[in-house]
């Protein structure tokens, strides 16, 4: 039984923790939140230099080949620091999509640059706020040309390439690799609940696009990609939730009211004990996901859904009750509580909301029971 990070992974995690403590304090997040920067380019360069962007990319494609469990360890720290960089878009989604479905030529062309952080990738699936509608995609591809509008696209305003989902004559959803610096693409930043992560509207007017995987497999690839990303995001959620819980505990120990620390009141203690339970359940479920990802186990879809549901709940609850414990100060712009609350809801929505994942989870159990 070894249901924990290895010693090497723990060392990596500790180093990441130290680096991010130094380079990504809340005031760095705030610079992006308040619109001073579109994202933290210095931090991005820093993590790339440390090899994090290439952590799970094989050495053959310029990566470090550390494997996905190591990437999970990094994700937890990036989540804890609320890192305002396109890590998830570029690594969990764009690079992973290429690894999953790219041709040799595509992998050789893009992965080395994604691995070094030289290029930024993202994914463009949603078409407007009503992203769960299940309506046919309006974005279409024909003869290597893409037309339509994608919104919201994380990091869309400054990413170099995007994996784009489009309808074709033969398939309701096929994937394409698209270079974003084309005159046939308009990009405009849009407001979201978490301005510390940039989002954009992308309009394609006959933009050049290269198929990723076969047209027929688009939906299957996307599902698999989202399952894998859900585990990595699950670690970001666990990281963020733990920090929110720590903040609340620290404040509850230090803040006095009625002549005693507010943390000596059961209303506060018991609230935080419940948050702790949510966070630990999420952590254990995320570990299961890490194992499934590392072992490419058949349990992966189930572990992914479980980690995602647990992680989304834990971070949301921890961040919301962190505000409550902080009282009025927790509700000020100057206080840092809202950074976590915003990120929690953003992460809970980015790969689809809890109801979708609960449905996937039960589907998966039914499938396994039928088998």
């Amino acid at each position: 039984m070894n249901f924990d990070f290895s010693d090497d992974e723990k060392r990596l995690k500790e180093e990441a923790h130290g680096f991010l403590n130094d380079r990504c304090p809340p005031k760095a997040v705030r610079r992006v939140l308040e619109g001073e920067l579109p994202f933290d380019r210095d931090l991005w360069r820093g993590v790339a230099e440390l090899g994090w962007t290439g952590a799970a990319i094989p050495e053959a494609y310029g990566g470090v080949g550390l494997g996905h469990v190591g990437l999970c360890a990094l994700a937890e720290e990036l989540g804890a620091a609320l890192a305002p960089i396109p890590f998830a878009s570029s690594i969990y989604l764009a690079a992973e999509a290429l690894l999953l479905a790219g041709t040799e030529a595509q992998k050789s062309r893009w992965l080395p640059k994604l691995a070094t952080g030289q290029l930024i990738g993202t994914i463009a699936v949603a078409e407007g706020a009503e992203a769960r509608s299940g309506k046919p995609l309006a974005t279409s591809a024909e003869g290597g040309r893409l037309s339509g509008t994608k919104l919201p696209v994380a990091d869309g305003a400054y990413a170099d390439i995007a994996i784009v989902a489009a309808r074709t004559a033969k398939s309701p959803l096929a994937l394409y690799v698209v270079e974003l610096n084309q005159p046939e693409i308009d990009r405009a930043p849009v407001k979201t609940i978490d301005p510390s992560r940039g989002h954009a509207r992308l309009t394609f007017r006959g933009a050049k696009a290269e198929p990723l995987g076969s047209e027929a497999d688009g939906e299957a690839i996307l599902k698999r990609l989202y399952d894998r990303a859900a585990i990595l995001v699950g670690f970001e959620q666990v990281g963020g939730a733990s920090v929110a819980l720590d903040m609340a505990c620290n404040y509850a120990r230090e803040r006095y009211a009625f002549g005693r620390p507010i943390g000596s009141q059961q209303a506060v203690k018991h609230k935080l004990a419940d948050v702790y339970c949510a966070v630990e359940l999420a952590r254990s479920n995320a570990y299961w996901g890490a194992w499934a990802l590392g072992a490419d186990a058949p349990e992966l879809p189930l572990a992914a859904a479980t980690a995602r549901v647990a992680g989304s709940r834990a971070f949301y609850v921890a961040s919301k009750e962190n505000i409550q414990v902080h009282g009025g100060m927790g509700f000020t712009w100057e206080g840092d509580c809202h950074l976590y609350y915003r990120r929690a809801k953003h992460l809970a929505l980015m790969l689809g909301a809890a109801p979708e994942w609960k449905e996937k989870l039960v589907n998966e159990i039914e499938r396994r029971n039928a088998a």
């Binding site: 699936v125 949603a126 407007g128 706020a129 009503e130 992203a131 769960r132 509608s133 299940g134 309506k135 919104l151 919201p152 849009v190 407001k191 979201t192 609940i193 978490d194 989002h199 404040y251 230090e254 803040r255 006095y256 009211a257 009625f258 002549g259 005693r260 620390p261 507010i262 009141q265 209303a267 506060v268 949301y316 919301k320 505000i323 409550q324 009282g327 009025g328 100060m329 927790g330 509700f331 000020t332 712009w333 100057e334 509580c337 809202h338 609350y341 915003r342 809801k345 953003h346 809970a348 929505l349 980015m350 790969l351 689809g352 909301a353 809890a354 109801p355 979708e356």
Partner: protein, 410 residues
């Protein structure tokens, strides 16, 4: 059991409705419109104008004694007026604290001269009042305040800081509780004054909230002089005096703003999830049922309170459940509304998002509702102690001189 007005109530309701028909626009559609309440100059001017018309029509002080320019009607009439008002677009958020809390305190604890000077312009909307109670050290422990006032001849000199003061940046006057003796027990060293917000030494800074708006202020006091004649109640009686004010606050604190059941019900009918209206989803339907039960339960609880009022009984602290239940419900509704949109749920472009991003905005303002005007935890304590008769919390600060109470680092 019936929902009918008595003949007097019906007559008053008709009069109120006529007033609104004449002076305001009836609301159309649902939700959305009620959100924008910026306290800018234009809105302030409109609010002052409307207040003057209310005063002229006899609706600005419905329940106050005639001696103070009121109509001397029972509280049920105020409720009826508010019910009618709810169907109209009217300026709000400028006079509630002054007329609901400050002026009643002045009427009770001030001199006849004070009343004569300050009540009429407040009622007409010419002068606006704010309340300077909370401090950074205090939080829920309101009486733990440390802003000092020291006697100097006929004046008192105030130094310190207040926080969460609504409207301090446009108010003309304020009532303030300060510590005049730190050597006695917490509640015994306080005194209340009123003061001119333009006094030298007062600095107002607006507080930006998570939701991006600035409804509150910090107010800093540096050697601010207040004449002793502006004291309300005896020296050392400030806590008792402020209870008058706070009792009025508790009655004023109502349910959370939109989105409520109707809004999420309509959203669920409009939004498509996996090719079907969201409302077709049984999981969503169960949530809707739960919220309806709460929303309707709170509305009907208010009818029970009104019944007590119309029988001239005093409603108890039962009203505390309104904010406790509705603030949590608001946060749940906001979050669930966003979940209906999946990956698009975090978008906040009003033009792109169903209900003009009402749910997204609510996610950001709902945490404040669980804190302002008494946190969830304080409200549960009030219910437990005053309604259910459970014993008070153990007090670490009981009987200690104020300056001996442990205070921690922040």
């Amino acid at each position: 059991m019936d929902f009918n007005d008595s003949p007097e109530e019906a007559a008053f309701r008709a009069e109120a409705r006529a007033f609104f028909e004449k002076n305001a626009t009836r609301k159309s559609g649902h939700a959305a419109a009620q959100r924008s309440r910026a306290d800018d100059a234009a809105n302030l001017a409109a609010a002052k104008d409307f207040q003057r018309r209310k005063a002229e029509a006899g609706f600005a002080a419905i329940t106050w004694p005639k001696a103070f320019g009121g109509r001397g009607l029972p509280p049920i009439m105020q409720v009826i007026f508010n019910q009618e008002q709810a169907s109209f677009e009217v300026p709000r958020g400028f006079f509630e604290i002054g007329l609901g809390m400050c002026i009643p305190t002045l009427m009770k604890h001030g001199t006849p001269e004070h009343a004569k000077r300050y009540v009429p312009p407040a009622v007409r909307g010419d002068e606006i009042w704010c309340q300077l109670f909370s401090e950074p050290v205090g939080g829920s422990d309101l009486a733990g305040l440390i802003t000092r006032a020291v006697r100097d001849g006929d004046d008192w000199v105030i130094n310190g800081q207040k926080i969460w003061t609504s409207g301090a940046h446009y108010c003309d006057f304020g009532i303030i509780v300060v510590r005049t003796d730190p050597n006695v027990a917490k509640h015994e060293g306080l005194t209340m004054f009123f003061l001119d917000m333009k006094s030298p030494g007062i600095e107002v800074r607006r507080i930006k909230q998570v939701s991006g708006t600035s409804n509150f202020n910090e107010v800093f006091f540096t050697d601010v002089r207040v004449p002793d004649s502006q004291r309300l109640g005896a020296v050392g009686e400030g806590w008792k005096v402020s209870l008058t004010t706070l009792m009025n606050e508790r009655l004023a604190v109502g349910e959370a703003p939109a989105p409520d059941f109707d809004d999420i019900f309509h959203l669920a009918r409009e939004v498509t999830v996996e090719g079907k209206p969201a409302i077709a989803d049984r999981a969503m339907r169960e949530k809707l049922a739960d919220w309806y039960v709460e929303t309707q339960g709170l509305k009907l609880t208010k009818f029970r309170t009104m019944t007590a009022l119309s029988r001239s009984q005093t409603p108890g602290p039962e009203a505390s459940i309104t904010k406790l239940v509705s603030a949590t419900k608001l946060q749940e509704i906001a979050s669930t509304g966003m979940d209906l949109l999946g990956e698009g749920g975090s978008l906040m472009e009003e033009s792109e998002v169903p209900a003009a991003a009402l749910f997204q905005q609510a996610l950001l303002y709902s945490p404040g509702l669980r804190i302002a005007g008494g946190t969830d935890e304080i409200l549960r304590n009030i219910i437990a102690e005053r309604v259910l008769g459970l014993p008070a919390d153990m007090r670490a600060d009981k009987e200690l001189p104020f300056n001996k109470i442990p205070r921690g680092k922040r």
